[in-house]
Amino acid sequence: MIYRKAAGIPILTSLISRTSSAFHTSIVHRRHLFDSRLMMSSYNNNDIKKDTTVYIEASSTSAADQSLKQQVFAMMSNAESQLSRYNMTKHNIVNIQSQILDINDMSEFNSAYEDYMVGVTHLPAQLLWQAAFIIPDGGDDDDTVRCSMSMIATNTKKDSVDTAVEAGKSPCKPNGAVLPFSPVVRCGDIAYLSGTLSAGAGM
């Protein structure tokens, strides 16, 4: 059951760390609490908020029987669960660094992500790459976690900009693959620019 609830573990581990008298104690405590599959997630301090800005980490649930879309939805749901602690939602996300296990999944990943983000009128900036491995790994014999995201969210209003991309209206590559990210998101003094290529092969 713990395995199935991996998406909720980051918050749990975070709470454990904050209620322990010493962080080293909490690490040891966590190692006793969780099996090696979940220990990986305790390397992250998943969500922190400074001023108006929240930094969070979200991975998909480790489950071989889940489609990539299901993993993306689980990951985003995990992210929104963390954001809700700060009265934020997916609308507050301004920048994302995405990792996927197979770059050939990018179209499917982008499509699922865009489906989840429907309603967001100014999609976050994004940089995506293929990672050799994604944390949490769920154990050495488990490589079913196919995507993760590191996100920045803020209460500061996104500046209105002509290039903003709305979920559901993303530009497409000639093969129909969607590109669900805004080129730039500016909030107050800070602007986040999406990863881009000259070759035009995807971004």
């Binding site: 322990s20 080293h24 990986m40 922190i48 002509d162 290039t163 602007a191 620019l193 035009g200 092969a201």
Partner: protein, 240 residues
């Protein structure tokens, strides 16, 4: 100001004229021009860029990337190079169609704080013969440290310890403390080394219960064959 329609047409044009975009220099120029357009759309320019994340299709292209990137900044009269983190992931977007690099950036409207001349923090001017990144850029309430690595250590533990010594010196010289760190990005060559890097990081952070946000990347290769690279973002008013 560029319109969405302009961006879309530009994008589609690029998609169709792909594969013949030339070598690293041409790709870097085109990519940075596009980022420049995007910066202009929010009333900024390359001078406002404080932090750059670069992923390379092949880490062996690092030198040619650095030359092209540094020359571009110099040609745009950018006074100080942004901080930068660079690595080769297992794959980048468009790699099968000839993409050699992808660049993302963070920009700040606040002026960059001029650092002391101390080598640890001296801001780097883009010119030939120098690595085109500054060790740290302070702007507004935040500071961005370039990805730090060490190649003198013979294993991941030693490299982590050595690079954290460098980070401490950068922070001290820049008037920051470990408690100002808000995010850490750890890029580790071997996933089995995660535990030892994490342990060193926790020592470095002083067993603070209020840890920074930590994220992990497992790449194909790191610059200079390093085993670990770590970048930091700080909030100049403290993490608490």
């Amino acid at each position: 100001m560029i319109s969405f329609a302009h961006y879309y047409v530009y994008l589609v044009h690029n998609l169709r004229t792909l594969s013949s975009q030339g070598g690293m220099n041409e790709q870097v120029i085109a990519t940075m021009d596009r980022l420049g357009d995007w910066l202009n759309s929010v009333d900024m320019s390359w001078d406002n860029v404080v932090d750059v994340s670069t992923v390379l299709a092949d880490i062996n292209d690092l030198q040619s990337f650095n030359e092209a990137y540094g020359n571009y900044l110099a040609n745009k009269n950018v006074k100080f190079c942004p901080a930068q983190t660079c690595f080769q992931p297992s794959g980048i977007c468009g790699q099968d169609a000839g993409a050699l690099c992808e660049i993302a950036a963070v920009a700040s409207a606040s002026p960059k704080v001029i650092m002391s001349k101390d080598k640890a923090v001296a801001m780097v001017e883009p010119k030939s013969g120098t690595y085109p990144f500054s060790p740290i850029i302070k702007s507004g309430k935040y500071a961005w440290l370039s990805g730090q690595l060490d190649t003198t250590g013979s294993n991941t533990i030693q490299q982590t310890q050595n690079l954290l010594v460098k980070v401490k010196k950068i922070l001290d010289t820049a008037g920051l403390s470990i408690r100002d760190i808000v995010t850490i990005t750890v890029i580790i060559q071997n996933k089995t080394d995660t535990d030892v890097v994490y342990t060193e990081l926790i020592k470095f952070l002083g067993n603070d219960e209020d840890l920074p946000h930590i994220s992990y990347v497992y790449p194909e290769s790191l610059c200079l064959c390093a085993l670990v690279e770590i970048s930091f973002t700080c909030r100049t008013e403290g993490r608490k």
